[in-house]
């Protein structure tokens, strides 16, 4: 009991010990906040990449009948799939013409699996009764379309405007054109969709991009698969192909597939690499806080040599005296961890408010980035960092503890 009591007294004996606690705490707090921010960015980037997008994309060289899709059985790990017709087209509004990517979708099915409804700015869609336009809107007889925010800015269209979509079939010089009513602008954060994409109905896509024969069979040129765990996209790509190719009566030639992970690999890997580098930097920060604990404990041990002699004199074993200084290291580490974890969560979760209070600027400006990216603090990462901080504190206490504990009692008693 007196080991703990003495260690506790030693922790509180000098203000420099509190400084060590603060250093451990601040380092841990910085680790939690920095990793929280980078994880937040990574999560946000993944969310943006996946927003409105499939996790596994399959496309066919020759469109297949939509009816055949019912042959596809359940695939383990797959939440569902939606039909897709994707092609490139020219969009015209007034004097401006811009290239774009058309996505012909089944809105009802899409709403069940993708996050499309969250990103529409001008319309709130009822998932039970999905409508492309606000009821009773005069569309001028034109089909509705949702246009990506950046594409809309370049074209100069807003919700309620009309635009013309033109397509030139590969085997014809004829230009197929169709007017669309812009029923909503969407901002998903996904650069692919926001910059160039626009959504239209499957039937409208068929009219624009498919031959009459393909239109008759109600063809679809692609499938978007949504997974229970998007991180498993690469692993599930082959099982999906193995399932759908025979089910749809296709050969593997002319069936193309990719995943969101493959599509964004370089960015994702870059971000993950940046995270790893950050973690290395934070490890060294934690290590330097360990040196602080080391310095504090070495000072403490040199100032308490007489106590060590006295303890040995009254029957304390070496292990007891070593234990007291290790306990001091543990207490400093523990107090630092409590401080660091508390402050880390407090600052991490309120970073934007704190930043704005201090600088009058938002931490992650929605004006600049189009959205906010709040830090994501994983409890398991906090636990690892807290454990590492505690371990480093204990490790730093080892040498001072042993050097103090192994002093001969007679020489220790003589030191003042």
């Amino acid at each position: 009991m007196y080991m703990i009591k003495l260690a506790w007294i030693y922790v509180h004996a000098r203000i420099i010990n509190y400084i060590a606690v603060v250093v451990v705490g601040l380092t841990l707090m910085a680790s939690i906040v920095v990793i929280g921010v980078t994880d937040g960015m990574l999560v946000d980037m993944e969310r943006r990449i996946r927003n409105l997008g499939e996790q596994v994309a399959i496309s066919f060289r020759t469109p297949i009948p939509e009816a055949n899709l019912s042959n596809i059985s359940n695939i383990k790990g797959v939440k569902g799939f939606t039909p897709l017709i994707m092609d490139y087209a020219l969009l015209k509004h007034g004097m401006i013409t811009e290239p774009g990517v058309a996505y012909g979708i089944d809105l009802k099915k899409e709403l069940k699996l993708s996050s499309i409804a969250e990103h529409l700015q001008d319309i709130r869609i009822d998932p039970e009764n999905p409508e492309w336009v606000v009821p009773d809107t005069d569309t001028g007889g034109n089909s509705p379309a949702f246009v990506g925010i950046n594409l809309a800015e370049r074209l100069g269209v807003r919700a309620g405007d009309t635009m013309t979509v033109s397509y030139s079939p590969p085997d014809s010089n004829k230009l197929v054109s169709k007017n669309f009513y812009v029923s909503s602008i969407f901002s998903s954060g996904s650069p692919l969709k926001d910059r160039n994409g626009f959504f239209i109905k499957l039937d409208d896509a068929r009219q624009l991009f498919m031959t009459e024969g393909e239109q008759k069979i109600k063809g679809v040129s692609g499938l978007s698969f949504f997974l229970n765990n998007p991180e498993e996209a690469n692993e599930l790509e082959v099982p999906i192909l193995k399932n759908i190719v025979p089910a749809l009566g296709l050969s593997y030639r002319g069936v193309y597939s990719t995943t969101w992970q493959k599509r964004w690999k370089s960015i994702h890997d870059g971000m993950a690499y940046e995270n790893m580098l950050m973690e290395v930097v934070l490890f060294f920060m934690n290590l330097s806080s360990g040196f602080c604990v080391f310095a504090v404990l070495a000072t403490l041990a040199s100032r308490r040599v007489r106590d060590v002699g006295l303890l040995r004199c009254i029957g304390a074993k070496r292990v007891n005296t070593i234990g007291i200084f290790l306990l001091v290291g543990l207490f400093i580490g523990l107090m630092g961890v409590i401080l660091g974890v508390g402050a880390g969560y407090l600052v991490g979760l309120n970073l934007s408010d704190i930043w704005e209070f201090l600088t009058d600027q938002p931490f992650y400006s929605p004006q600049l980035f189009g959205h906010t990216s709040p830090p994501v603090i994983y409890t398991w990462k906090v636990a690892i960092y807290a454990g590492a901080a505690l371990f480093i504190s204990l490790l730093s206490a080892l040498y001072p503890a042993f050097s103090a504990g192994c002093r001969e009692p007679v020489t220790a008693l003589k030191e003042e």
Partner: protein, 235 residues
């Protein structure tokens, strides 16, 4: 003469040598010293400064290791036991009283007494600690830290701590050296009383010839060996 009937010395030193190295020169402090003390005895060791009295006491108390020779405590030859066993003997069988008191400055008087039993693994209970502090006249200073106590009071706490584990031997290194004559006298009276009542042996190192006379035996440490105290060494 002691009033007790002795069969075996509680502490015995045989052919005790202790030397220090000063560069290549060897400095002999204890030179084949023979010594024994029985329960209930109080032995005073006097001698001039630098003759090795404290070294002798530290060696007897297993705080220091002799260069050669044997120390028996309650019949156990301490020259061939582990450091842990020596620590156990030191904690349970020996009580130390130092000139500089050597109290834990951050602990109260009561804790300074109780801590001895805790580390020696010979806990005699809080009641006994309170009795001892009462015996040394500090029952109203239990919660005081050493900085709030006078020198005499601090030394009395140190005595209570030394006695808390009910040691067989009490080793006192100039216990009144830092006290004024009045306090010194009080401390010594109390020390003799308490030791007598507990039946412990006491080895007392002192410069004070009068104090040495109160002990049941006194020796003079001269040129590394113990001589009868009446022998006056040449200057």
């Amino acid at each position: 003469m002691s009033e007790f009937i002795h069969t075996e010395p509680v502490m015995q030193a045989k052919k005790l040598y202790k030397s220090f190295h000063d560069g290549e020169k060897e400095l002999g402090i204890l030179k084949g010293l023979e010594f024994s003390v029985y329960s209930g005895e109080s032995i005073a060791i006097i001698g001039r400064s630098g003759t090795g009295k404290s070294t002798f006491l530290n060696t007897l108390g297993l705080l220091d290791t002799p260069t050669s020779g044997e120390i028996f405590i309650n019949g156990v030859d301490t020259s061939c036991i582990s450091d842990a066993a020596k620590t156990k003997i030191r904690g349970q069988e020996i009580g130390f009283v130092f000139q500089q008191y050597h109290l834990f400055g951050d602990l109260t008087a009561l804790d300074n007494v109780l801590i001895a039993g805790n580390f020696a693994r010979k806990n005699m209970g809080k009641k006994f600690a309170l009795e001892l502090l009462d015996k040394v006249g500090l029952s109203d200073r239990l919660k005081h830290k050493p900085s709030k106590l006078s020198g005499g009071e601090q030394q009395r706490v140190a005595i209570a701590r030394a006695l808390y584990t009910d040691p067989a031997i009490l080793l006192c290194d100039e216990p009144t050296g830092n006290l004024d004559p009045q306090s010194g006298s009080e401390v010594m009276d109390m020390l003799f009383d308490v030791v007598k009542s507990q039946g412990a042996a006491m080895v007392l190192v002192t410069h004070d010839k009068q104090l040495a006379d109160v002990a049941s035996k006194s020796y003079r440490l001269f040129e590394g060996v113990l001589a009868d105290s009446v022998f006056d060494p040449p200057i």
